[in-house]
Symmetry: C2
Subunit: 231 residues, 2 copies
DNA sequence: CTAAATCGAGAGCGGTGCTCTTGACACGCT
DNA sequence: AGCGTGTCAAGAGCACCGCTCTCGATTTAG
């Protein structure tokens, strides 16, 4: 359990096997989606199916591990992309964030579908996925917070419904979300939905025969949303 | 084949059984999602599984039928909702369209997931789904066309990339999409992605713990996008 | 009235997730 | 150094799946 300085051979073998199973499962994700076959990944590893159950108690648990890895991977990519832009360039940071998310999604389309597609039928995401899942959105919150702190004016728009304003003010109690006034937060969530809507359309093949210049159009949308956010 | 005036008993029985299978499959969709069990629907109908194959050659074919029905149902709902608003009220028509889509999605969440969620792993949508699938978007195209015809100015925004402009100009060759200049079409597709992004977030449970006033927030977003479209 | 078409039932194939038991092996402690 | 303990992969087995094929019963059409 407690892996001291000298990791035992058994423990390291277990860690390595766990990684090998996840890697094989990731490859099967491309073909079978969320209903991948445990037996198939076992076959790939030259191992009998029941052996896999030593490492993951069920198919759902393996899926959860893949989801957690996916969120971590996307979170890394999003943070890295955004961090490469000077702090003062707010619009540039937003665009870099959006591009980072898209690049990751294009590189890992099946993981993207797992994270942001329709929920897996019998599967309920355990509570420990909400933390990693919010990492990308926290990057955007940071941009909005910096924009507000820099005195960037929030564009005029439709009046925020009272109930929504209450929700967003309640959200301010969480320090991770504080410092962003409701009017700005509402716009941010709208832009966020736009980003993932556009991404889902592209990745799920919902705009074939319409747009071929995917990347250029995605960039255009990012710029449009930057303007919408007042960045 | 040619069902003349007097439909044979067999033909009507076949039509009825086809409907019963689809209905049972729709109910299973709620539990098992896209990987529903043909055997289970057969059990529900008190029939052996092989009998279902008399009506649908494969599980995929049954899924295709459900998808087609779904698009038709959504198309009806979208057209009906939008048609209830006076032609001159462009923003109202857009908002009614968005609400209509949402109402349908809330009433048929599993069909929504089937149509707009992650693609079913081994399943490739046959070509005859593209027509019905475009019905809702055609409603929005009609609104944009009317807006342009009425002389509504297209708001200023980021420059449209050349490749995107070319795509959208090529799209004009299709009479269904003509009459909408690229700058407007680009905004329309952005708003469309926003709409379905917001809907997917709500239906796939991606904004729990943030917003409780779903409907009010959705309406707010529709108004924001109406402004974005210049309606 | 008869031949053809259609129907549901049933058996059967290879696959699935998952459980349980068995024997071999590596570990940590004395 | 040796021994008990815990972990390991393997294999058999259960119930379910999609799908195919055959067979007798029934309805249709000529």
């Amino acid at each position: 359990m407690t892996d001291s300085v000298a990791t035992t051979a058994r423990a390291s073998a277990r860690a390595e096997m766990t990684q090998r199973i996840k890697q094989a499962a990731r490859e099967h994700l491309a073909v079978d989606g969320a209903n991948l076959s445990l037996r198939a990944v076992a076959r790939d590893l030259g191992v009998v199916s029941s052996a896999v159950y030593r490492y993951f108690a069920s198919r759902d648990e393996l899926l959860t591990a893949l989801i957690l890895d996916g969120y971590a991977s996307l979170g890394d990519a999003a943070e890295r992309a955004e961090a490469a832009v000077p702090r003062r360039d707010l619009a540039g940071r937003w665009i870099a964030l959006g591009r980072g998310v898209r690049d990751w999604a294009l590189a890992n389309p099946h993981e993207y579908a797992l994270l942001y597609g329709s929920p897996v039928p019998g599967y309920a995401a355990p509570q420990d996925t909400v933390g990693p899942a919010s990492r990308p959105v926290l990057v955007m919150v940071e941009i909005m917070r910096d924009a507000v702190a820099a005195g960037v004016p929030i564009p005029a728009g439709p009046r925020l419904p009272r109930a929504v304003r209450a929700d967003l003010e309640r959200l301010q109690d969480d320090p991770a979300f504080s410092g962003v006034p409701p009017a700005m937060f509402a716009r941010g969530m709208t832009a966020w939905a736009q980003l993932f809507g556009a991404l889902s359309f592209e990745l799920f093949g919902r705009l074939t025969n319409a747009i071929e210049a995917y990347e250029a159009y995605f960039d255009y949308q990012l710029r449009a949303m930057a303007a919408y956010l007042g960045l």
